[in-house]
């Protein structure tokens, strides 16, 4: 595994994203929309919203992650670039890492945006910024690496758009729950032990990253 390859791959993905300006022009507004949508659905007073703030944040992140992963798979599939990659000396753990890094960066940028919007809209106050930061980073690593892994599982089957959510959501839901609890603690709303949940998140992050690096090659092998 060479880190330089991973980095080239990540850069390539990020460049494609910047080129199509999806991040700024589309996913960012979509982020806002999701928050609004939940507002409708709950139809509740601000107090309820405030209590469920962290949960909403992570559900929104999950849905955004799905979109971002779909995109990431699509750009490899559109013109058989995935097969092309097989015929290079690049090791598949590097490919996995590269695509995960790109996904992580995109998701994290959006989370920052979403975070401040929610902070303002739902009138939340942060009690433990370090816990917030760490749990966001760890959860996002978990989501990015499991997303990349499942993205390739759903790839090439012609029904990816609908298969991916089904496969992925149950897997990343536990991450979202963990992150929700950690956030809840940081906002001082839930009397959960945020740092304990952080442990869970790091387990997920490590497990999915390692598993991904091991399994990715197996999965892409048969194009």
């Amino acid at each position: 595994m060479e880190f330089r390859d991973a980095w080239s791959i990540a850069l390539k993905d990020l460049r494609i994203e910047l080129r199509s300006r999806i991040l700024m022009n589309q996913i960012a507004p979509y982020t806002l929309l999701i928050v609004v949508l939940f507002g409708f659905a709950l139809d509740a007073n601000t107090q309820t919203l405030r209590d469920t703030g962290p949960g909403l944040f992570w559900v929104a992140v999950l849905l955004i992650a799905l979109l971002a992963i779909q995109r990431a798979v699509k750009i490899e599939e559109d013109d058989a670039a995935r097969e092309r990659m097989l015929l290079t000396p690049v090791h598949s753990p590097s490919v996995f890492l590269g695509k995960s890094i790109a996904l992580f960066i995109q998701l994290f940028a959006l989370e920052i945006l979403l975070f401040f919007v929610m902070l303002a809209l739902f009138d939340l106050s942060v009690e433990d910024p370090l816990l917030i930061f760490l749990s966001a980073v760890l959860a996002t690593i978990g989501i990015a690496s499991s997303g990349t892994l499942y993205g390739v599982i759903a790839a090439g089957v012609g029904v990816r758009e609908t298969l991916l959510p089904i496969l992925l959501l149950p897997v990343i839901a536990p991450i979202a729950i963990g992150a929700t609890r950690a956030f809840g603690d940081s906002f001082g709303r839930v009397d959960a032990d945020g740092w304990a949940w952080l442990g869970l998140l790091s387990v997920f992050a490590v497990v999915y990253t390692v598993l991904g690096m091991l399994a990715y090659g197996q999965l892409v092998e048969d194009a």
Binding site: S8, I16, D78, A80, E83, R84, L86, L87, T88, V90
Partner: protein, 224 residues
């Protein structure tokens, strides 16, 4: 062993359909072999098999000395495959695409610039998104990203498709040059007579197996 490709009664199924029903084919180093045959004969499948992209179901298959039934990965980096699809990223420019694939196969910057120039993609086209290219230009870009790889086994699926006369000449030159420098070329063509050197070896595939294998001597391509 000098056999770059050595298939014996190789069977490949796509889904449930046996696309190759028992192909026996030997290709030695430096040869240029043209595969012909009707639509659906299994030509593309044969190339994908040789690239190690498809599992061998029956028979034996050795490519570049590796047993494909045991390890389909080892050979892949030495193989350049031009399929029906281009393997490019629509939202990157020609130059970005070739540079990316170049860096994936450890090509130097010079080689990358040269490949772009060789395929006639310098000038305006260098900075054009692949999405906006014409069919032939896209094919040229795909070729450029293959040239940087300098593979030892070239698998070309209708290399002339969509190319203009200049492009066809370029590609023919490339194939001759590759063979002369010790690489092996397996190409699929529907109009073999149109190739610049219609001598050489012609393999006809039909119904998923080889139905004829003719060698017009005197081509001088084989370097051994």
């Amino acid at each position: 062993m000098n056999d770059v490709i050595d298939l014996r009664e190789a069977v490949v199924t796509l889904g449930k359909f046996p696309a190759l029903t028992g192909v026996t084919l030997k290709v030695t180093q430096g040869e240029i072999v043209t595969v012909c045959g009707p639509n659906g004969a299994g030509k593309s499948t044969l190339l994908n098999l040789c690239a190690g992209l498809l599992p061998v179901r029956e028979g034996s298959a050795y490519v570049l000395g590796e047993n494909l039934r045991e390890n389909r990965r080892a050979i892949r980096q030495d193989i350049g495959l031009l399929g029906h699809k281009s393997g490019l990223y629509d939202d990157l420019t020609v130059e970005e695409n070739v540079t990316f694939w170049g860096s994936m196969v450890r090509a130097g910057n010079d080689e990358i610039a040269e490949a772009i120039k060789f395929m006639g993609l310098d000038g305006r086209l260098r900075k054009v998104l692949v999405r906006q290219l014409s069919a032939g230009q896209r094919r040229r870009a795909s070729f450029a990203s293959l040239v940087v790889q300098r593979p030892s086994l070239w698998l070309l699926d209708e290399p002339h498709a969509a190319l203009d006369t200049d492009g066809r000449d370029l590609v023919d030159g490339l194939i001759q040059e590759a063979a002369a420098s010790g690489a092996t070329v397996l190409l699929v063509s529907h109009a073999p007579k149109e190739l610049s050197s219609p001598s050489g070896r012609f393999v006809t595939l039909a119904g998923g197996r080889v139905t004829s294998d003719i060698n017009n001597e005197g081509s001088g391509d084989g370097v051994s």
